[in-house]
């Protein structure tokens, strides 16, 4: 194996060297052409030096997988040979190619029939095998492209300036999960055409980034923020009777001055920003690709028209990104093809692909290889076109023009198949890393990581990716429904997002540390909670809760805690809660109560024994009633307990009412509030407990990593798997038993008799006897066989023992070990054989009797034997 690898590397090295040479050769005349201004020798040398420096870097990995790794013997026949029609097609293509090179001598030769994995030339269009995938996820172009880019790992072209000499079938590519850009686009094109898109493979030229799947200069699509929709507030036309605003008495001049100043500031900032951007761009553009415009690439174009595609676009199969047909990355097109035809671009690509028109029916712009397959419509008016076509067809029929009526033969490639496992694993070995500009994206297959991690995006501050800015981790199938973990490295803030289904209905949790009683914010799915909690914010000394949709209209509760009273024995947070200093609760308006009786806010100042109430405002009022209760238990001069005095309740009422002035009313209100205070304190305590519980749960989850498995997941669901296997086993056994039951002992003996005749008694007797004696013979044979084996084994053992005794002195420890293990194994075998023999001896007569009885009962023999008995 090692030798082989070296060989491969050697090959690769030579190829690389060749490629480099060719690159230089090609480059020089090009440069000379481009740079018409006189160039000094020094500059040229300098350039050469630079180029040589750069070219060392180009391909580092081993190139495409070599032929040795492909097992061609298992491939079907269509892979290894050409049919007559295919041969014909190849001839046509050759002819076409000759004409083409004659007519356009300055253009590169066409990429028409590369060799396949079996070294057979195959026309490129027949390599496309339109297949509709059985997975609904692969019905749209974006998911298809994403799958192809994930599933295959990229191998650069052996020669970056030439199309490859081989184009493998999608079967092989999928099996090895790697390929070059042509493999990528062929596979993608097959899938897209299968899904109903009007898709074509393109042989053309791309930028360096595209060809090397280099995304380090691109911004990661996941980091891009959604542009916030700027909602322009619709100016409500002022109504007829709208009041006039009060006169504005501020100075307009001052306002203008202020505005000017601000604008200046803004202008300066803008300028600075622009300068900064320009600088960055320069830095990025510093290294210009010397092979710009010459690098061969293959990608896919999806033309508008089918599947409601409104506009044609490119898909880069490496990155699965879509580009407009005007994109800078695509520098030219030589030819394009689908499964039916092949077109050569006759348009000038001096400006990249920006000016290309993708009207394949236009023979001036696109030279077709085969006539009359489809796309023969130039964008003329439909009716005329149809009529003309009809005429043409009729004429063609008469003339029998071979070239023109030639159809593309069907694809030689097997239907593309992707197993569900492979589909789920996606990336080779389930892992994929993409480097973006200031960001790194890592992907894993679900269930690959035992904590459910499927995707991680790390963003960096600098271009060299050394300083981490933030990390986003996506999870799947977590039991606690964790979906996304967002870690901001600069602030240390962690935010966890959960899907619905957390035991406490947690929606999001942002925190710095997992310690209790620290700054944290928890958001909840309030509809899943009985108490309607939406959000809970905590600081070291307070806790704020927001509620929604409660029947008691509570919307807000704020609890201030005092410093913990130190206790010696018990110190845990549960047994020693912090003392509550103040509780503020706010209520939304209860429409059933009058505003003066509907409390808007109540504050329990627990240590001051003071309760403050603020009521809701009436609709047409601006002031609200207030009430303050002071709770002092005092004793009057006579020693009686004072229950209630007027100064214990200070109230302001918008509209004074008689009954509220009564002490009795106030006393009752106070008693009620005292009860409610107790309840609120209890609630606060419970909330604290809940926080502890959530934190505990999260810690446990982080440690334990159990992943939820869907009951429909037949592979991972152990329980159902066991059950299924057990069922299968039972079925299998059942089947065996049935087979045994149906086994006909008499069949071989009956077959000896002439068929069709009824048995005579004598014959029946004979058959029975024969059968029994045969069985007896077999039992004896079996016993003999066991015996023979037993003897052989013992002999061998004896031999070994003899050998051991003879050579005992010279034996190494290793040999001795080996001998001992052999002995024990041999003894074991001998003992087993002995047991088997004994059992056989016991059972043989029983079996014989059983057969005899069975034969007695056999319906074919029973009438003869009965009489006999």
């Amino acid at each position: 194996m090692e030798v082989l690898k070296e060989k491969v590397e050697e090959e690769a090295a030579t190829e690389r060297a060749e490629a480099a040479e060719r690159g230089e050769k090609l480059l020089r005349p090009l440069d000379a052409r481009r740079e018409e201004a006189p160039m000094t020798q020094e500059m040229l040398r300098d350039l050469e030096k630079k180029l040589s420096e750069i070219e060392i870097v180009v391909p580092e990995q081993p190139l495409t997988f070599t032929k040795d790794s492909i097992d061609i013997s298992k491939l079907p026949l269509s892979y290894q040979s050409n049919t007559l029609k295919e041969e014909h097609l190849l001839q046509v293509a050759d002819n076409f190619s000759r004409q083409y090179s004659h007519l356009c001598p300055d253009r590169v030769p066409l990429f028409l029939h590369p060799l396949n994995e079996c070294e057979v030339p195959k026309f490129v269009s027949t390599t496309i095998r339109p297949t509709l995938m059985p997975y609904p996820e692969l019905y749209n172009w974006d998911s298809c492209a994403q799958f192809v880019s994930d599933f295959l790992s990229m191998v650069p072209l052996p020669d970056p300036l030439k199309p490859p000499s081989h184009l493998y079938s999608s079967t092989t590519v999928l099996k090895h999960q790697k390929g070059n850009c042509f493999d990528f686009s062929t596979l993608l094109c097959s899938m897209l055409i299968g899904a109903g898109y009007d898709a074509y493979c393109i042989n053309g030229y791309g930028s360096q980034d595209i060809c090397h799947m280099d995304l380090t200069r691109d911004v990661c699509p996941l980091t891009m923020k959604h542009k916030e929709m700027v909602q322009e507030e619709e100016k409500v036309p002022s109504k007829k009777y709208a009041i006039k605003p009060p006169r504005d008495l501020s100075s307009r001049f001052e306002q203008e001055q202020e505005m000017k100043k601000q604008e200046e500031m803004k202008g300066q900032e803008e300028k600075q920003r622009r300068e900064e951007e320009a600088r960055l761009l320069e830095v990025e553009k510093a290294n210009i690709d010397p092979l710009h415009g010459l690098r061969v690439h293959s990608w896919v174009v999806v033309l508008s028209g089918k599947r409601e595609v409104p506009e044609s676009f490119f898909i880069d199969p490496f990155t699965a990104r879509s580009y407009s047909t005007q994109d800078d990355h695509f520098l030219g097109i030589e030819s394009l093809w689908n499964h039916k035809n092949y077109w050569i671009n006759m348009q000038d690509c001096w400006n990249g692909c920006k000016d290309l028109i993708f009207d394949l029916g236009d023979p001036v712009r696109w030279e077709y290889l085969l006539l009359g397959t489809d796309k023969s419509h130039l964008s003329l008016t439909e009716e005329e076109d149809d009529g003309m076509n009809d005429n043409d067809d009729v004429e063609n029929l008469g003339k029998e023009d071979e070239d023109k009526s030639f159809d593309m033969p069907p694809s030689w490639v097997e239907q593309i198949e992707i197993s569900p496992e492979a589909f789920e694993t996606r990336c080779p070995s389930g892992k994929k890393v993409i480097q973006y500009k200031r960001a790194k994206l890592e992907k894993w297959a679900p269930y690959l990581n035992n904590n459910g991690l499927v995707c991680r995006l790390t963003t960096y501050e600098d271009l060299e990716c050394t300083k981490t800015l933030e990390i986003k981790e996506w999870y799947q199938n977590r039991e606690d429904m964790l979906e996304l973990k967002h870690i901001n490295k600069s602030t240390g803030l962690n935010i966890d997002y959960f899907k619905p289904g957390h035991p406490q209905a947690l929606r999001a949790h942002s925190y710095v540390s997992m310690q209790p009683e620290m700054d944290r914010v928890m958001e909840f799915y309030e509809t899943a909670r009985v108490d309607g909690l939406v959000k809970r914010e905590e600081t070291p000394s307070s806790m704020t809760e927001h509620y929604r949709g409660r029947s008691d209209f509570l919307s807000y509760r704020h609890v201030d805690f005092g410093p913990r009273v130190k206790k010696l024995a018990l110190n845990s947070a549960e047994s020693n809660p912090r003392p509550v200093v103040k509780i503020t609760e706010r209520f939304s308006r209860n429409p059933e109560k009058p505003a003066d009786e509907d409390v808007a806010e109540r504050t329990f100042l627990i240590q001051e024994e003071r309760i403050q109430l603020r009521y809701h405002c009436r609709d047409d009022h601006i002031t609200a009633s207030k009430r303050e209760f002071l709770r002092r238990t005092e004793v009057d001069s006579k020693g009686n307990k004072i229950i209630m005095t007027p100064d214990m309740c200070i109230s302001f009422e918008v509209e004074p009412m008689e009954h509220t002035k009564k002490l009795l009313y106030q006393y009752e209100a106070m008693m009620k509030l005292r009860n409610e205070e107790k309840l609120s304190r209890h609630q606060a305590w419970e909330s604290e407990l809940e926080v502890l519980e959530i934190l505990k749960l999260q810690e446990e989850e982080d440690d334990a990593h159990t992943l939820a498995i869907s009951i429909y997941d037949t592979k991972r669901n152990e329980k159902s798997k066991e059950y299924r296997e057990a069922m299968e086993r039972v079925m299998h056994e059942e089947h065996l038993r049935q087979v045994e039951a149906q086994l006909d002992y008499l069949a071989p003996f009956l077959a000896q008799l002439p068929p069709g005749n009824k048995l005579t008694r004598w014959q029946a007797m004979c058959v029975k006897e024969e059968c029994l004696s045969d069985f007896k013979q077999r039992l004896i044979d079996k016993a003999n066989l066991i015996q023979a084996r037993f003897e052989k084994e013992t002999q061998e053992l004896q031999k070994k023992q003899q050998w051991y005794q003879e050579n005992q002195v010279t034996l190494t420890a290793e040999d001795e070990d080996w001998y001992l293990s052999y002995c024990s194994q041999a003894m074991f075998r001998i003992r087993i054989l002995e047991q088997r023999l004994n059992r056989h001896k016991e059972q043989a007569p029983l079996k014989y009797l059983a057969l005899e009885e069975k034969l007695h009962k056999d319906p074919r023999l029973v009438e003869f034997l009965k009489v006999f008995v």
Partner: protein
């Protein structure tokens, strides 16, 4: 069956008895102590129990305005009376009395639970006002007629009924009958009605119930129709054009017009009359439609105005609330600071500062209010001008249409006169058809008589038209003035209320400050 109450002296419900009952049933313990200190007002009492008191006559209960529960069972009451003031009553127990007829409950619209168990009632009626009734107990009475149950069908919320111990309960069909006619009932005579029973009852009495239902539906639909018509009419009245969408005005012109009716029998008049009527009705319809359109316009105008005013007030209120909230935040802090302050000079300084804050708040709030008043005044004036213009335009146009009516009438009058004179001439000449009605003959005696007759008819018609026009104009004008007055008055009221509110609030704040000062001086 009845206790031997005759041996006891009947008692009168007087103040002492009520006070005693209230005191006994009032709050207990600490609260009770407080209650005794202060005394309980009758109108604060929510529930009162007066059982086994030998009361003969219900009296002196008018002070218990807010009573929701009243127990008067086991007395010797003979007549339901004196409960008219207790409109909040939900629960009324009059069981074990000597009541003979249900009466005096017409004001108790909130009543849900009524017990008249063990009385001498023989007929269920006079319960119409009790629309919320859920529980009705009428056991041990003398109700003998099944038809009483049908009366109970009107109570849609009735769920529990007891009628055992009545003569009707002895009949075999009693249960079935009740279940069939009161399908929403859940408990009868303290037993739950099971579904099986319900089904059986339904199938048994299905025929008669269907008939009953049909009748009820008919009545219901007729009521609805009438209501709809009434509403339509109200709408037309609001537009001042009621009864103009037809020949109503035209017909009314001829109802009191004796001569006109007689003249209609003249040959050729009926065609003339028909044409006249058609034209007249068309104009009426024009007026009607125009009136409705104008009404829409006025409504739209009024709505816009109200909306704008409301918006302005709301905005102003928000500002005021915001100011107060800001002040209160500060106020809490400063109050605490003042309380904690020990040094006298600092204390005084803070008090002064606080006082200043209060004055400033007062000024700000009052400025806001004044600003709003000014703005609203302007808007209201604008609206006033517009609405008066609108009404004036409406009246003008209606008047011109009415003038057309008058022209038509004049035209008709001339034609009629012409025909009449011709006929008269013919009669005088003697060559007249004999089929002239008898009561017409006296008119055609001479020229003056016929002139007078036709003239009188014409005058009546004109008068009718004039009356209708005057009515419309006066009503429109009065509506307009009334509207404007109300708007002005409301605005003034609003302003006063707001000023009062602000003053009250500021006074309260000031008082608090003063009390602080005082307490400090005392300290």
């Amino acid at each position: 069956m009845h206790r031997l109450y005759n041996s006891l002296e009947p008692r009168v419900m007087d103040e002492d008895m009520l006070k005693l009952a209230v005191g006994e049933q009032g709050p207990r313990e600490e609260a009770g102590q407080l209650a005794r200190q202060e005394g309980i007002l009758f109108k604060d009492v929510l529930s009162l129990r007066l059982d086994f008191q030998n009361i003969l006559r219900i009296d002196s209960l008018w002070e218990f305005e807010n009573l929701t529960k009243l127990q008067l069972d086991n007395n010797i009451i003979e007549k339901i009376e004196g409960l008219e003031q207790l409109v909040h009553l939900v629960w009324l127990d009059l069981s074990f009395n000597n009541i003979e007829a249900i009466e005096g409950l017409d004001t108790l619209v909130n009543l849900e639970d009524l017990s008249l168990f063990n009385n001498r009632i023989s007929k269920i009626d006079s319960l119409d006002a009790l629309v919320k009734l859920q529980v009705l107990s009428l056991g041990n009475n003398q109700i003998g007629n099944m038809m009483n149950i049908i009366y109970l069908r009107r109570f849609k919320d009735l769920r529990t009924l007891s009628l055992s111990g009545n003569p009707i309960a002895e009949s075999e069909d009693y249960k079935m009958f009740v279940c069939a006619y009161l399908p929403d009932l859940v408990y009868l005579d303290f037993h739950r009605i099971d579904d099986h029973m319900k089904e059986m009852a339904e199938s048994k009495h299905q025929y008669s119930i269907d008939e009953l239902k049909h009748r009820e539906n008919l009545i219901q639909s007729r009521l609805e129709d009438e209501q709809a018509q009434q509403e339509e009419l109200e709408k037309h009245k609001a537009a001042f054009v009621e009864h103009l969408n037809g020949s109503f005005l035209f017909d009314s012109m001829y109802t009191e017009d004796v001569e006109g009716n007689k003249l209609a029998y003249l040959p050729g008049i009926s065609e003339l009359l028909q044409a006249y009527k058609d034209k007249f009705v068309i104009i009426c319809l024009n007026i009607f439609e125009y009136g409705l359109k104008q009404q829409e316009k006025r409504k739209l105008e009024l709505d816009t105005f109200n909306e704008c005013v409301q918006e302005a007030i709301q905005e102003n209120q928000e500002q005021g609330k915001h100011r107060i909230a800001k002040f209160e935040e500060k106020h809490l802090l400063s109050l605490n600071a003042i309380r904690d302050e020990s040094e006298l000079t600092n204390f005084e300084m803070k008090i002064v500062e606080y006082g200043k804050d209060i004055t400033e708040l007062f000024n700000v709030l009052m400025t806001l209010e004044m600003q709003l008043v000014e703005q609203l005044e302007e808007t209201i004036n604008m609206f006033e001008r517009n609405i008066i213009d609108l009404v004036a335009l409406f009246i003008e146009n209606v008047q011109s249409l009415m003038a057309q009516c008058r022209d038509l009438e004049n035209h008709h009058h001339e034609k009629l006169l012409e025909i009449s004179i011709n006929t008269l001439e013919k009669i005088l000449k003697g060559d007249v058809d004999e089929d002239l009605p008898d009561d017409l003959r006296p008119l055609f005696v001479d020229k003056d008589t016929i002139f007078n007759a036709v003239g009188a008819s014409h005058d009546i018609h004109l008068l009718k038209i004039d009356n209708r026009e005057d009515e419309l104009v006066t009503r429109a004008n009065s509506w307009c003035t009334h509207l404007v007055d109300t708007i002005h008055k409301n605005e003034i009221m609003r302003n006063r209320r707001r000023v009062k509110e602000i003053n009250q609030y500021i006074d309260h704040m000031q008082n608090e400050l003063d009390s602080l000062e005082c307490s400090d001086v005392i300290d």
